[in-house]
């Protein structure tokens, strides 16, 4: 509802009330006591003053005074006043109604001001809530957008110095192009002094820039006394509010920077931890075989060993050399995976061969376990047999590491739709729920591996990397009968012969 409309209604209503009450007093009620009339007229004036602006109240007050004089002060029906006492009454009435109008108007102005402030506060409150959900620097555009929306601005831009240039995050229905040199000049001025202007509720450093036929206010974003950027806005906003917005934007920027720094610090720390554990276990995985080989070789060189002991010592050397070879192969595989996409060489291969090749690669690791293989079909599959076997070997080695010696490892291969799947199930403790998300991460070692000095946490990540090269997947689950089950799934078209058979 517009101000002018309210004023007109109040004016008409005021006159109607005056005319109505005058008619009522004179024609029907026969009231002639000037005091009662003055009180009623005063009431009308106060009601008008409470609703409308001051000038309306003044007009109604004057009309009321004239009506009071003409109709109720003797001699009635004339503009003259006989009794000097009534002069006093008339002007007192006018004065009271003017003062009351004035008081009421200023009270309303204050209420409006308070309402405006409360409104502004609630917008700022909403805005700071928007800031809380921002986590990265790109969200600054979102912040500009939410400033424009919440404060009804035509244009908002957050500008951050970026070398000589300015990085801008803009929003709002209109767009103003502000030259970088203008921004740099305002920024340089703001870097000078910081003073607070209590009347305008702003710190120094504000600038007004005329662009495309509108005034754009520019305020510095300050952290402490140091400006870190600029906030430009066009639309109905006073400098004090803009200053507060600039403060919120500065905090938001600082917060995102802080979050980013912490993220990178976290990453650095994680990398350091990884490096430490990696070096420790690499140290162990190299030193243990080397020690065993050295001692066993020295034993072989002595003359105190029986023939059986000699064979035993030779076996220690072979087993440890095998372990070093395997470690070397793993490091090599990892480097190959890192070096870029592996080329899959897809060919036709019998499933039994793939499983046999995998077992052979980790023969040493499997020597204390029984391996039971179940093949659903002997039908050859079309995939990369080397990559698949290498990945499967990792799963077998992993199963052997995490299940008690002498227990059984079950390997079951089958075709599911367009995929060839192999599941390796062990009799170990299964996968701890907290390990699940990182199980296939490089150098991750699960809860069951804590305290075990050997193992680098490479195997499962290598398996995943190798399989990715041929579009395959690997996943883990804890089957109801216990242990852990790892499944490899590789896309494998049925061989042409078998396709011909089914036809």
């Amino acid at each position: 509802v517009s101000r002018r409309f309210v004023d007109s209604v109040a004016l008409v209503a005021g006159f109607t009330a005056l005319a109505g009450s005058t008619a009522a007093f004179r024609l029907w009620l026969g009231v002639s006591n000037p005091t009662i009339v003055a009180l009623v007229f005063l009431l009308v004036v106060l009601v008008v003053a409470a609703i409308a602006r001051l000038w309306v109240a003044v007009v109604v007050s004057t009309a009321a005074m004239l009506a009071f004089n003409y109709f109720f002060l003797p001699p009635i029906g004339t503009w003259t006043i006989a009794d000097p006492q009534n002069w006093v009454a008339l002007f007192t009435f006018l004065a009271v109604s003017l003062v009351a109008s004035n008081l009421s108007a200023s009270a309303r102005a204050r209420a409006q001001e308070a309402h405006h402030r409360r409104d502004e506060l609630s917008r700022l409150f909403d805005l700071s809530r928007d800031v809380l959900v921002m986590t990265d620097a790109q969200a600054l555009t979102a912040l500009a957008r939410s400033m424009a929306a919440r404060f009804g601005l035509d244009f908002v831009a957050i500008a951050l110095p970026y070398g000589d240039d300015w990085q801008r995050f803009e929003a709002g229905p209109r767009h103003f192009s502000i030259d970088a040199s203008v921004l740099s000049r305002v920024f340089a001025e703001a870097s000078g002094t910081v003073e607070f202007d209590a009347r305008a509720r702003t710190y120094s450093g504000h600038a007004l820039h005329a662009a495309d036929g509108a005034n754009v206010r520019i305020a510095p974003l300050r952290l402490g006394v140091k400006p870190i950027g600029l906030l430009a806005a066009a639309g109905p906003i006073d400098p004090g509010t803009l200053d507060v917005l600039a403060g919120i934007a500065a905090l938001a920027i600082e917060r995102t920077r802080f979050l980013e720094e912490r993220k990178s610090a976290d990453l650095t720390r994680q990398r350091e931890e990884l490096k430490t554990t990696l070096l420790a276990s690499l140290g162990h995985d190299l030193r243990t075989p080397l020690t065993a080989i050295r001692v066993a070789a020295a034993n072989l060189g002595g003359d105190w060993l029986s023939q059986t002991d000699r064979i035993e010592q030779a076996d220690v050397i072979l087993a440890e050399a095998e372990r070093l070879t395997r470690l070397f192969q793993n490091i090599l595989d990892m480097a190959r995976i890192d070096a870029g996409p592996l080329a899959a060489a897809v060919t036709l291969a019998p499933p039994a061969d793939i499983i046999a090749a995998a077992r052979e690669q980790v023969e040493q690791a499997l020597r204390h376990h029984r391996v039971a293989v179940t093949l659903e079909s002997d039908e050859p599959v079309r995939l990369d047999p080397r990559l698949t076997a290498a990945a499967l070997a990792q799963l077998l080695e992993n199963a052997a590491q995490y299940s008690p010696p002498g227990s059984q490892i079950r390997v079951a291969a089958r075709r599911v739709g367009q995929e060839w799947r192999v599941t390796v199930t062990d009799a170990g403790p299964g996968i701890a729920p907290e390990d699940r998300p990182r199980l296939f991460d490089r150098f991750f070692r699960g809860a069951a591996a804590q305290g075990r000095p050997s193992g680098l946490g490479m195997g499962l990540s290598i398996a995943r990397g190798l399989l990715a090269a041929e579009g395959g997947r690997v996943w883990a689950e804890n089957p109801p009968e216990g242990g852990a089950a790892f499944t490899i799934a590789v896309p494998a078209e049925p061989s042409p012969e078998s396709a011909a058979d089914t036809r």
Binding site: L279, A280, G283, H284, R287, T288, P289, L290, T291, A292, I293, R294, V295, A296, A298, N299, G302, W304, L305, D309, E312, Q313, D315, V316, A319, E320, R323, G451, R452, P453, S454
Partner: protein
């Protein structure tokens, strides 16, 4: 003859067990092998071996924890096998009562020498505060606080004598910097090794023929010092 000494070998790596136990048996030791820390503690209690060879990386307990648990009831010499890169674990194990350490990868002679020394220390027990120690051409008289080298008395300050007798009473055993600092300067000095470096330097100048190549006061880099009673070839 120490050849009937009983050794408890604690290592979870089958290959180390398979290579080291025949080596020790060939030298006449009686070897028991266990693979976990818990088994090591109970074997040390029940079988009371003459020496424990303890790997620090065990599947169930931390090696240093095993050390302190065994020390709770036994003074059996402990030689620690450490495969970890850092010195911290070694030092912790020594502080918790281990006598010596060998770093993997080690050769057979290294391990055998450490075992011999630790067993000898056991057989030649020095009375705690009294008596004398003859090592090479050096005679240390604990009672009269005198040190004589080749018949010639060496004048030592009280602190120097304190350090020498501490190391000599623990002859052939590694004492960590921390342990020495605590024993001589008190618990507040354990973070100030420079006291110790200076004192060892002074002592070597007085005792050693060639302070740069010490015969008695050996440094164990980053770990501590060792008083060597018999010259190594």
């Amino acid at each position: 003859m120490t050849s009937t000494a009983r050794i408890l070998l604690v290592d979870d790596e089958p290959s180390i067990q398979r290579a080291v136990s025949p080596l020790l048996r060939s030298r006449g030791y009686d070897v028991t092998v266990v693979g976990t820390g818990a088994a090591a503690v109970s074997a040390a209690r029940d079988a009371s071996p003459d020496l424990v060879v303890l790997d620090l990386g065990l599947p169930d307990l931390d090696g240093t924890e095993v050390c302190s648990r065994i020390r709770a009831f036994s003074q059996v010499p402990i030689v620690v096998l450490s495969a970890r890169g850092g010195e911290t674990d070694k030092v912790r194990a020594l502080d918790l009562g281990a006598d010596d350490y060998v770093t993997k990868p080690f050769g057979p002679e290294e391990l055998l020498a450490r075992i011999r020394v630790a067993l000898r220390r056991l057989s030649a027990v020095v009375p705690a505060e009294s008596g004398q120690l003859q090592a090479g051409d050096l005679l240390i008289d604990y009672d009269r606080r005198r040190v004589v080298r080749s018949g010639e008395e060496i004048r030592l300050t009280p602190k120097e004598f304190e350090l020498l007798s501490l190391l000599a009473r623990n002859a052939d055993r590694v004492l960590t910097h921390r342990a020495i600092l605590k024993a001589i300067w008190g618990p507040n000095a354990v973070e100030q090794p420079e006291h110790l470096w200076t004192l060892v330097g002074q002592l070597r100048k007085k005792l050693e023929n060639d302070p740069a190549n010490p015969r008695y006061l050996l440094s164990e880099p980053w770990v501590g010092y060792r008083f060597q009673s018999e010259a190594q070839s």
